[in-house]
């Protein structure tokens, strides 16, 4: 089971801040997970960033063993 978190307009588009999912074995990377989730707001991956267990990762990072995957827009703080 993976806890998926969403932030900012990704969260608004998905309609929830988090969900618990259990993807099949062929879902190997964050990018695979995004496809598998089938949320319309996640269609343009160039606009997405991700973290696995609270560490920033590229979208092709493997999710093997991940407990928490966060999907969000580029950051704009400070």
């Amino acid at each position: 089971m993976i806890e998926v978190l969403y932030f900012a307009w990704v969260r608004e588009g998905v309609g929830k801040a988090q969900e618990r999912v259990d993807p099949p074995a062929e879902v190997k990377t964050v990018s695979d997970l995004i496809d598998w989730l089938r949320h319309e707001v996640l269609a343009d991956k160039a606009k997405l960033r991700a973290a696995i267990d609270q560490r920033f990762v590229p979208l092709d990072a493997p999710i093997t063993g991940a407990r928490e995957v966060a999907i969000f827009p580029p950051v704009t703080g400070g």
């Binding site: 969260r11 609270q54 560490r55 969000f72 704009t76």
Partner: protein, 145 residues
Amino acid sequence: MIRVLVSETPIDVAAELEALEASGGGAVATFTGLVRADDGVGELLLEHYPGATEAALEKLAAEAVERWKLVGAAIVHRVGAMTPGERIVFVGTCAPHRSAALEACSFLIDRLKTDAPFWKRETRGGDASWVVERASDHAAAEKWR
């Protein structure tokens, strides 16, 4: 002294400054970012990734302390709703010499803009929109790599 705080409470810069001054160096540099009042924004909402944010800021502060031999580093970031003129972010450094304090202060604010999971949503006359990342922020962060 490393201090990292992410909070919905207004930032008390006087208290932050005093803590930095007490950390033992003769040079203190600070940067404060305010919600701009001049471009029609009525409200600013700051969202963040609890846990990951604090970890990112701690890492940044530790990197600055190591690289510039600081005796003190503080990063305080406001989250939640705020209005024009309010403080969004405060970063401060304390070192034995001024160049270290000033450079590390620039480093912290430049890297914070790209390395910490915050998102700004601006409301202008009832219309809310998420702020888009700026290429200039990435250029500013890159110069410290």
